[in-house]
C-alpha cells in the first residue's frame, strides 16, 4: 500500500530552537492519530506538510508530491480543519463552504453543489442559510469539517476536531471521522484526547520534543500486562471458580454475567493458578488473555522512555 505521507530526516529549526528533529515517518492510508504533549512539534509538522513553512533539512512527500516544490498540488488534495474558530465573518453556512470551495479552485456551480452535499453530510443541512456567527460551538466544528471536505480531499488534517463539543457532539464528530475513513479518505488526527484517538484511529504517531517516539498500529503497540488477565469460563460454575481463584490469592476485580473475569495474578508467570482453580471448581476455561495497555499508558510510557534517554 503506497504511503500517503513520507518524511525522511525532516528538520525544522526556529533560530536555535529545534521544532522537528530528524523526523522520519511513514503514514499509510487510513485514520492515523498524531499524539504529543504541547510543544511536541505536531503543529510544526502540519505546517511543513501543508507547505506553509519551509523545512530546514530532510525531505517530505504528501500524496506522492514533494512539499517543498509541489505545495499547491498538495493543497488541492488535502483538507485542513484548524483547531480554533476560523469562520470568515458575514457568511452563511453554505456561503462559507462555497467560498472555501472556490478558494480550493472549484467552479461556482461545483462549489455550490458540493457545499450543499457536505453540509447535509455533517448534519448542518437545516442551518445552512443561518449566519455562521449564530452557530453553536459544535456546529462551528462541523462547519469547519465541511469546508475541509468541500473539494473532496484524499487526505484530511484535523487539529483537535472535538474541541469545545458536548459529549453527544463529540460522538457525532468521531462517527463522521470514522465514516470518512471508511469512504477512502485518509485522516491525520491531531488530538490531546486519547480516548478520541483510540476510538477512531487504527494507527498512531507519538511525538515529543520534535521527535517521533513511536508509530504503528495501535493494536500491535499495546503491550500485554504481566499480571492482569481477562479469563472467560463457560456458564455453570462461575461462583465456585471465583471462590477458587480468591483462595489462590488471585484478585478478582470484576466479574461479568457472561462469565468473564478481570483478574490480577499474584505474580508473573502464575497463569497455572487459573487452570488449577478451574479444575477445582469443575469449570471450563474458554479464554485467557492478558490485558493490553491503554493508549494513555502507551503514550506515558513513550514519554517516560524519552525523558529517561
Amino acid at each position: 500500500m503506497p504511503a500517503i505521507i513520507e518524511t525522511h530526516q525532516l528538520r525544522k529549526h526556529y533560530g536555535k530552537v529545534a521544532a522537528l528533529r530528524n523526523v522520519s515517518l511513514t503514514m499509510e492510508p487510513g485514520v492515523v492519530g498524531l499524539l504529543g504533549p504541547n510543544g511536541a512539534g505536531k503543529s510544526t509538522l502540519l505546517s511543513v506538510l501543508l507547505g506553509q513553512v519551509p523545512s530546514t533539512g530532510g525531505s517530505a512527500k504528501v500524496l506522492g508530491f514533494d512539499v517543498a516544490r509541489e505545495q499547491f498540488r498538495i493543497r488541492r488534495r488535502i483538507g485542513f480543519m484548524p483547531e480554533n474558530d476560523c469562520l470568515i465573518a458575514g457568511f452563511t453556512g453554505i456561503g462559507y463552504v462555497h467560498y472555501c470551495g472556490r478558494l480550493a479552485g472549484m467552479s461556482h456551480a461545483a462549489a455550490m453543489q458540493r457545499g450543499h452535499e457536505v453540509l447535509d453530510y455533517v448534519g448542518l443541512g437545516e442551518a445552512r442559510y443561518r449566519p455562521g456567527e449564530e452557530y453553536s460551538a459544535g456546529m462551528k466544528q462541523r462547519l469547519k469539517l465541511a469546508q475541509a471536505l468541500v473539494h473532496d480531499p484524499d487526505l484530511l488534517f484535523l487539529d483537535e476536531p472535538t474541541n469545545g463539543m458536548d459529549p453527544q457532539g463529540r460522538v457525532l464528530m468521531l462517527d463522521l471521522i470514522r465514516d470518512l475513513g471508511r469512504c477512502g479518505i485518509s485522516v491525520l488526527l491531531s488530538s490531546h484526547l486519547l480516548p478520541d484517538v483510540e476510538r477512531v484511529c487504527q494507527r498512531v504517531v507519538i511525538m515529543a520534543n520534535g521527535d517521533v517516539l513511536a508509530q504503528g498500529d495501535i493494536a500491535n503497540m499495546r503491550t500485554p500486562h504481566p499480571t492482569r488477565y481477562a479469563v472467560t469460563v463457560l456458564p455453570g460454575a462461575d461462583r465456585a471458580f471465583e471462590q477458587a481463584l480468591r483462595e489462590r490469592s488471585v484478585r478478582v476485580e470484576a466479574a461479568k454475567p457472561s462469565g468473564t473475569f478481570a483478574i490480577e495474578l499474584p505474580g508473573v508467570n502464575t497463569q497455572h493458578l487459573v487452570y488449577e482453580a478451574a479444575r477445582e471448581a469443575a469449570a471450563t476455561v474458554s479464554g485467557l488473555a492478558p490485558e493490553r495497555s491503554s493508549l494513555e499508558a502507551m503514550f506515558m510510557a513513550a514519554i517516560r522512555r524519552q525523558d529517561a534517554a
Binding site: 501543508l50 476560523c86 478558494l103 453530510y121
Partner: protein, 357 residues
C-alpha cells in the same frame, strides 16, 4: 448506534467525487459550453473568488451603496458643465453669455470673458473640469475606502481565517491581489466610472466625433489618474488593515493618515516661505501630492502656456508650483512601504497558519 450513524445512511452519506466532477467539466454539450465559459472568463482563479466575495459583501453595506450612488452625481455635475461650455462656444462674446461666464468663473476659477473662440480651448477647459472633479473625488475615495478597506485583512486576522486561506492553494500574493482588487473596484466606481461616463455624455452633448478625437487623450489620462489612486489608496489601507485585528483602529489610522498631513501642510504653507517648501516641505500631504501629480499628468501648465491665455484666467485651476518629482517620490515611497508591510504581515500569518491552530 448513535443518531449520526443512522443519519449516515441514505442521502447524507458521504459521496466521493467522480473523475468527471473532479476534472470540473461535465460531459457532452454542457462540457463544451463549460470549456468555452472557462476560456471566456477568468473566474477560475482563486483571486477572483476573493474579489467576488469581497464585492458581494461590500454591496451589502447600505451606507457604501449610498456613497457610491451619490458619487454618480459627479456625472450630472460635469456633464452639466460640459453642456454649459458647449453653449458658451456658441454664445461667446454675446450679452446672453454673461451668466455662463459667471458660472465658469465661480465653479472653475476660469475667466473666459475675453475669449472669443471658446471651442479652441475645449480640451484645456475639460481638463480643468476633471482636475477639479478629481480633487473632490479624492475626498470621496477617502470616505468610501474607509467603509470597505479596514476590515479586509483585519477581520481575517481577528476571526483567524488566514489558516483557511493558506491551507487552500492560495499564495500571499494571490490573497493580496484579491483584497486589493476589491478596493480597486470601489475606487474605480468612485473615480473612473463616473468620469468616463461624463466624458462620453460630454462628447454627446458637445458635438460628436470631432470632440471625441479632441478629448481622446483625456480618457487615457483619467484612466491613469484613477489607476494611480487605486494603487495608492488600496495599498495604504491594506497595509493599515494588516497591522491590526480591530477595524476601528484601522479606520482611525486611515483618516489620520489622510487628514493630518493636509493640516500640517496648511500650517507649513502659512509659515514657511514659498521657495523653502518647493521640495520636501511642500510634499508632505498625500492629498496635495495627488493633486500635483494629477496636474502633472494632465499637463496643465504646458497646455496653458501653449494656449496663450493670460495667467490670471486660470488662477485657481492651475496646479501648485511644486516639482512633481518630490510628490512622486513621497507617494511612490509610501506605496512601496505599504506593499512591503502588508506582504510581510500576510506572509508571516501564512507561515504561522498551522501554528495559530
Amino acid at each position: 448506534m448513535s443518531t449520526l450513524s443512522s443519519n449516515l445512511t441514505g442521502p447524507t452519506r458521504y459521496r466521493r467525487w467522480t473523475r468527471a466532477e473532479r476534472a470540473g467539466t461535465p460531459r457532452g454539450i454542457r462540457g463544451v459550453l463549460a470549456r468555452l465559459a472557462w476560456l471566456r472568463g477568468f473566474g477560475s482563479g482563486t483571486w477572483f473568488a476573493i474579489v467576488r466575495a469581497g464585492v458581494k459583501r461590500a454591496n451589502k453595506d447600505a451606507q457604501l451603496r449610498f456613497l457610491l450612488w451619490f458619487g454618480l452625481s459627479f456625472v450630472a455635475g460635469t456633464t452639466g458643465l460640459f453642456y454649459a461650455l458647449a453653449t458658451l462656444e456658441i454664445l461667446a462674446g454675446s450679452p446672453q453669455a454673461r451668466g455662463l461666464y459667471d458660472m465658469a468663473r465661480g465653479l472653475l476659477g476660469v475667466d473666459l470673458s475675453g475669449v472669443q473662440r471658446v471651442g479652441e480651448f475645449r480640451e484645456l477647459l475639460w481638463r480643468t473640469v476633471y482636475l477639479l472633479t478629481l480633487k473632490v473625488q479624492l475626498f470621496w475615495v477617502m470616505t468610501t475606502v474607509s467603509r470597505v478597506g479596514p476590515q479586509l485583512i483585519a477581520q481575517d486576522i481577528r476571526t483567524r481565517a488566514l489558516p483557511i486561506y493558506f491551507s487552500k492553494p492560495v499564495t500571499p500574493r494571490t490573497y493580496l491581489l484579491g483584497k486589493w482588487l476589491i478596493l480597486a473596484v470601489v475606487v474605480g466606481l468612485v473615480t473612473f466610472v463616473p468620469n468616463l461616463l461624463s466624458l462620453t455624455l460630454g462628447v454627446m452633448v458637445t458635438g460628436g466625433l470631432a470632440t471625441w478625437a479632441q478629448t481622446l487623450h483625456l480618457a487615457g489620462d483619467l484612466a491613469l489618474a484613477s489607476g494611480g489612486i487605486m494603487v495608492l489608496a488600496g495599498l495604504l489601507i491594506l497595509a493599515l488593515s494588516s497591522l491590526s485585528a480591530d477595524k476601528r483602529y484601522v479606520s482611525v489610522a486611515w483618516f489620520a493618515l489622510c487628514i493630518l498631513p493636509v493640516i500640517a501642510q496648511g500650517i507649513i504653507n502659512e509659515n514657511v516661505p514659498r521657495d523653502a517648501r518647493a521640495h520636501w516641505l511642500g510634499s508632505i500631504s498625500i492629498y496635495g501630492d495627488c493633486n500635483v501629480l494629477i496636474g502633472w499628468l494632465f499637463d496643465m501648465r504646458s497646455r496653458f502656456d501653449a494656449s496663450g491665455l493670460p495667467s490670471e484666467a486660470f488662477a485657481r485651476a492651475l496646479p501648485r508650483d511644486v516639482e512633481p518629482l518630490y510628490p512622486a517620490l513621497v507617494l511612490g515611497g509610501l506605496c512601496v512601504l505599504a506593499l512591503v508591510v502588508c506582504y510581510r504581515r500576510v506572509v508571516r500569518f501564512s507561515r504561522s497558519a498551522a501554528s495559530v491552530a
